[in-house]
Symmetry: none
Subunit: 214 residues, 2 copies
């Protein structure tokens, strides 16, 4: 695809600005005036270039019949993630079952979709208390958890301890044999937990932490 000339960039920029500001696209003569082009045919020419480049779509014979393609504009930039509940010290961390998933969301959190790869398998939890301060997660933070068993060494994961019957949020490290795991708090003053691999269920993986301050 050819590179756009300065004038063409200018036209495209004006096109988006105008459309954003007014709610409808500019006429060819509007463009001419704004971009200091002296002839409508020149605008037409440059619009054809933009159209061939896939930047815009034009409908012939239609006044202001210009649609800006700009994939970034058309694409949904936001994903809505269900906030399923709270995580507090010691308490089991809620994990969505097939039913909780649809029924329970306390609210929906709007996020830019670049923070979420797979929208379906991600849920949010609000952290209550400073129980996870060791993982640099504060009271009031929101964590995004992706439901997955695939965790790699060092990932921060929501882990269900079968024997202890509770969940924790820790970094997970596997032994060489992969039979044992070390659940490591980020805080060096806290002791890691050592346990058998078959004593744990990985419920998900923390993919993001969001902290909103005053």
């Amino acid at each position: 695809m050819k590179k756009l000339s300065e004038k063409q960039k200018k036209v495209l920029e004006f096109l988006t600005n105008y459309t954003d500001a007014r709610g409808y696209p500019p006429s060819i003569r509007d463009i001419a005036a704004a971009c200091k082009i002296s002839s409508t045919s020149v605008v037409d020419y440059n619009l054809k270039v933009l159209e061939n480049g896939g930047y815009i779509r034009r409908d012939p014979e239609v006044s202001r019949g210009i649609e800006i393609i700009e994939s970034s504009r058309r694409r949904e930039k936001v994903a809505e993630i269900p906030l399923l509940g709270y995580v507090a010290a010691g308490e089991p961390i809620p994990v969505p079952q097939a039913d909780t998933w649809t029924s329970t969301p306390l609210e929906m959190i709007v996020l830019p979709d670049n923070m979420v790869t797979d929208k379906k398998a991600v849920y949010a939890l609000k952290v209550k208390g400073t129980s996870m301060i060791d993982a640099l997660i504060d009271d009031g933070d929101t964590i995004l958890v992706r439901q997955t068993q695939e965790v790699r060494n060092g990932d921060m994961a929501v882990v269900w301890l079968k024997k202890e019957m509770e969940s924790t949020l820790k970094r997970i490290y596997f032994s060489k044999t992969r039979k044992k795991v070390r659940l490591q708090p980020a805080n060096r003053y806290m002791e890691p937990i050592y346990t058998e691999l078959n004593n744990i269920d990985v419920q998900g993986k923390v993919v993001a932490v969001i902290r909103l301050l005053g």
Copy 2:
């Protein structure tokens, strides 16, 4: 505000559908055809009703000069924030000047607008190193800073220390007389900094911390 007639609802619905589908609004005759209205003047009449009701805005003498107000549609759900630079240990934290603001952004970060009250005065910094681990901010985290002098007791702020000629990121506490300040790391093992109020410049306030993990 008057209730809309069936026909007016139909016109408004067509208006939004058409605009969504095509990227530009319909002409009056397009509306007439789609809504089975036999005269352009009738469409004009109904558009006037819609305009008085605040549903649309019209620009006179402009073909397809219709903007759909529908507040939910117009409101941008995402804000684009400039990522201005990195913060590393000891180094002065970059603060946007009139010129840096426009020229320097490394990239734009897309955020839901509910995370940003005033889009203009907010910029993002990427944290390099663990120098701010005491404030629960890790290497690689992105912090959002709002440019403001108005900080309240306990706010996390970017503070310029005049004498020391460097910036730090600390929680700020004022003395009763407001002559002195205590700059408090979140980490209890680190000592707070005490200094005169006139030795500091508050450059901004951290409004959010975002941490993306695997």
